[in-house]
Amino acid sequence: MVSKIAWAKWLAIIFFLIPMLLILVFPFIVMVSTSFKTLQEVGQIPPTFIPREPTLQNYGSVQKLLSSFGQRFDGVVPLSKCCVLFDIQCRHLFV
């Protein structure tokens, strides 16, 4: 009986909890991976998950973010900047 419950528990964890958690963190995986991509790679078809040429360029251009805040958040470049912005927020949150 007890082992049956334990089995059910592990099945639930593997087939429900882990997929759900993956869906919950999925956008953050995309965000982090996009933030390390070059602009060319961001616009590449098909997309990549692990950046082929990881770059810290986006993190360096955060300074410019504030000046470009008036732009419409449309398209690719602001998105990667948003990712960077989010990353900074996260650091503020956790440090």
């Binding site: 059910a8 759900m20 869906i23 956008p27 953050f28 965000m31 948003c82 990712c83 989010f86 949150l93």
Partner: protein, 314 residues
């Protein structure tokens, strides 16, 4: 009873002046409390009551193109709203969106909370990961989702291609039904953490000894779930569901960030549609009217919510 005491204690009955003075004195003694409440009352008046009053006034007025009220006392806005060719679809979508997302969120969250309530290796990590969508500003995660749902650059289509489910580039946010499903999905995604944590808190507040007693009496885990856990969680269920319905009705960020109601108003709900009415069509009167109608609807839910919160039984 009232009559007899009144007759017996007639000389001691205080006049309304005396009772007013007594109340005033009590207020005076509590004046520190009122002083401390003053900032919140002031901000409540300025930030809630004033816009609300303006909205109600505007709903019954004619307005010009910059939202100034030109003539008060008309029902034209509501009549126009009923004549609007999209309004029936908007109402249907609003209800589908609000109740659909909440139902889906409950269906996902309660099992998640049940699992997280167990002890297993990595449970603290799982609880921390669960809260991640909450740590991010909703507008940014919604933008990321829009990016994921992109037909050519998006990660979702890529995953579908790689796993061999389809080779087509599905235009998620271009097709009305798919876009609506996508928007609902993101809304569910964003509300799962709060609901799961609330359920988890509820589950952990259940007294453990009654479960031990039930086990002694030979209750199966299924019995425990259906006959003990869920009935005891009833109040939490109702509170969380109502709160989420209210939140879902006024949810603006996800839809506005992902689709802006496109294609053809098919992903609009009342809040985004009233924004369009007021700030795109510059028909502020109709916008006010729709806002007022939404407000009335939410009032009903709020009253039910307050009733449940106040009731001691259950």
């Amino acid at each position: 009873m009232a009559v007899s005491t009144q007759v017996a204690a007639l000389p001691k009955v205080e006049t309304w002046r005396q009772s007013f003075a007594r109340l005033l004195l009590a207020d005076f003694e509590n004046k520190t409390a009122y002083l401390l409440l003053l900032p919140s009352i002031a901000s409540f008046l300025a930030l809630v009551i004033f816009p609300l009053a303006t909205t109600i006034e505007g709903a019954f007025s004619l307005t010009d193109a910059v939202g100034r009220i030109t003539q008060f006392g008309t029902l034209k806005n509501f009549a126009d709203l009923l004549q609007d060719s999209y309004i029936a679809a908007i109402v249907r979508q609003t209800f589908l969106y609000a109740f659909g997302t909440v139902a889906l969120t409950v269906v996902v969250s309660f099992p998640l909370a049940l699992i997280l309530n167990q002890k297993f290796f990595g449970a603290p990590v799982a609880r921390a990961v669960l809260l991640l969508p909450w740590a991010a500003p909703l507008a940014i995660s919604a933008m990321t989702w829009r990016w994921i749902f992109h037909d050519q650059l998006g990660a979702l289509n890529y995953l579908l291609h790689v796993s061999g489910i389809t080779q087509r580039d599905i235009v998620w946010l271009g097709d009305a039904n798919l876009a609506f499903a996508a928007v609902m999905f993101v809304e569910v995604w964003s509300s799962v953490p709060f609901m799961t944590i609330t359920f988890l808190a509820g589950l952990q507040s259940l007294p453990p000894h009654i479960f031990d007693a039930a086990k002694m009496d030979g209750a199966s885990p299924w019995n425990e779930l259906w006959d003990m856990t869920i009935p005891q969680m009833k109040k939490i269920f109702m509170i969380v569901t109502l709160l989420s319905v209210i939140w879902a009705f006024r949810s603006f960020t996800v839809i506005w960030t992902m689709t802006q109601g496109n294609p053809f108003y098919r992903t609009d709900i009342s809040v985004t549609y009233l924004y369009k009415l007021a700030f795109k069509n510059l028909d502020f009167g109709q916008g006010f009217a729709l806002a007022f109608a939404t407000f009335l609807l939410l009032c009903i839910f709020s009253i039910i919510y307050a009733r449940i919160l106040r009731s001691e039984e259950m």
